[in-house]
């Protein structure tokens, strides 16, 4: 007589993980275009999010690299303006006093010449059409302090600093239409000819110099009769003492009116500029999340349709001995595979966008591993979530109803 002993002999079988993935892939293999299109939504979401993170990190990596080269120990001391709005200049001893501060490694000053000293490409240009180029008289050691390099020509030496010679900042040169340094090229500066001896590369830590024309201290005195004091002093100090030096600079540079003095750390400004991009990044990340959500709904929709269409397959599998759980796991796996497919594609696409953008900006392309891994993990979660309802529907289907389906 058949009793409970026989029932024990009925041992429900398990599907191995390999078989589960194989079975879960059946639907994707049978309808590759549909799988591709529904994975695409997820992929675009992940690609957008990864590209935002990747581009932001690449920009950060570029800044780090730039700061590594430029150093973060440069301070800029500006004389500021008085209460009438006139630019004041530092008293004569300001620069030597600053150089005497213990942790200061080097310092160099520039004098901003009055606004009526204008620059023209040649003397036939109407006086009103100034080029908007500011003129500074400079010390010879300026490039080493601010980290300026030459794009062409050379910097002042002891001799050329006394001659009517000019070095152009990078954008000033562009504005004047001068791309290379050749002998006998002159511009009009303060009403007389100055020959161009050099053009600077952009100076990230002293961006004011980019749109400036620089002449020697002695030339300013000899040819333009201007001998006023420094208006900006650039200070390099020992890395660890930068903040301490910063505290004493105002009083050291202008003991009489320290409150006019503005001290800033240009490397901070560069970092802050990057930080302002974060709000924008948050918006893009949000858009990516919305795309991901819509993609997830697309996957759920595809799975619901798939379950409806494959009722007879479900019936067959039930007749072959699949349990409800087997059916549920099959469709859940299919949903996860579908979403993960989109995730992997999205990560590849996002990384490609990051690389393309970073290379176009000459940034070091950086795709954080946690972002790529996290992106795929998110898609797996989205796929599992999207698959819950369709899988439950498939599992609930009675075998007889499923088999009767066309």
């Amino acid at each position: 007589m058949a009793g409970s002993g026989d029932v024990v002999k009925l041992k429900p079988h398990k599907l191995s993980a390999r078989d589960l993935i194989r079975v879960g892939g059946v639907g994707l293999r049978n309808r590759p275009l549909r799988a591709f299109l529904s994975a695409l939504g997820i992929g675009i979401g992940i690609a957008a999010m990864l590209a935002v993170v990747g581009i932001s990190f690449s920009g950060r990596a570029d800044l780090d690299r730039t700061l590594d080269q430029l150093g973060t120990n440069l301070l800029t001391v500006a004389a500021g303006k008085d209460s009438d709005g006139h630019t004041v200049s530092f008293p004569e001893p300001a620069l030597p006093m600053i150089k005497r501060v213990g942790p200061v490694l080097s310092a160099s000053g520039v004098t901003r010449l009055p606004d009526d000293v204008n620059v023209y490409r040649h003397e036939y240009i109407a006086k009103a059409r100034t080029s908007g180029i500011v003129v500074y008289s400079v010390d010879n050691d300026l490039p080493s302090v601010v980290g300026a390099t030459m794009a062409g020509g050379g910097w002042f030496n002891a001799a050329t600093a006394r001659y009517p010679a000019v070095v152009l900042g990078s954008s000033a040169a562009k504005r004047l239409g001068i791309t290379t340094v050749r002998s006998n090229v002159v511009i009009q500066l303060g009403g007389r000819a100055f020959s161009i001896i050099g053009i600077l590369n952009p100076v990230p830590l002293a961006a004011d110099l980019d749109s400036a024309a620089l002449i020697g201290q002695a030339a300013a005195a000899d040819y333009l009769g201007i001998t006023s004091g420094k208006t900006t002093i650039y200070v390099r100090s020992a890395e660890r003492q930068v903040e301490a030096v910063r505290e004493v600079l105002a009083a050291t540079a202008n003991p009489a009116q320290p409150y006019h003095v503005q001290v800033s750390r240009p490397s901070d400004a560069l970092a802050a500029k990057l930080a302002t991009d974060r709000a924008f990044n948050a918006v893009l990340l949000g858009l990516g999340a919305v795309a991901l959500l819509v993609g997830g709904i697309g996957v759920a929709n595809t799975m619901v349709i798939s379950v409806l269409e494959r009722r007879s397959e479900i019936g067959l599998r039930r007749s072959l001995g699949a349990t409800r759980r087997h059916i549920r796991m099959q469709f859940l796996t299919e949903s996860v595979l579908l979403a993960a497919l989109g995730g992997v594609g999205g990560v590849v696409l996002g990384a490609a966008v990051t690389f393309a953008y970073a290379l176009s900006q000459s940034w070091p392309p950086t795709v954080p591993l946690w972002a790529a891994g996290g992106g795929i993990a998110i898609t797996v979660a989205v796929g599992a979530l999207a698959g819950i309802y369709p899988a439950a529907r498939a599992a609930r289907l009675s075998p007889t109803v499923a088999l009767a389906a066309p």
């Binding site: 058949a2 007879s312 007749s319 001995g321």
Partner: protein, 221 residues
Amino acid sequence: MTGDAVAELIAVSKLYPGGVAALQEVDLRIEPGELLAIVGPSGSGKSTLLNLLGTLDQPTSGEVRIAGHPVAGLSDRHLSALRADHVGFVFQQFHLAPATTALDNVADGLLYCGVGQAQRRERAARALQRVGLGHRMRHRPHELSGGEKQRVAIARAVVGEPDLLLADEPTGNLDTATGGAIVALLRELNSSGTTVVVITHDREIAEGLPRTVALRDGRVR
């Protein structure tokens, strides 16, 4: 009652919601090694009987035993295991997976039996040879004729060596000659020991088999 029967129905009734009685007080005993036809016009309760024999459905009253296991009160998992290990199905519509080779379609017959893939394929190859399709293993369903498709489906049903092979209108989608060949194949399988139940509305086929159970209006006549 010996308990030896492959399938045993005792006073089985099946009522559908709305009071339609698909089966009424049916007694049926199928011995190992039998080949029988269940025959009747549409609406006679054939399909319901097939579903009960295949444990795809439960009776409203009465007792069903398949391979010695009383079906009443079994969980979904145990019922599924019963189907996996003891029952094979052949359908009128073949139900083959598209874009899947004949070999893998047959191997899927063992998917839920706890058998590894290598062994599934090996046994599937043997089952295909047994139904005379040893040369069609790598073909996909759309490359096969109707008769060949049904042979693949039969191979899938017997690959697990079930105690009971249920064939639901196995010749319904085939022409007479091909259908005859399928019946011959079922006879052949039966002569090597498989218990075969053919559900059909075709009296001619039914009368060619050793035993015929005629159904009408939910009762065995």
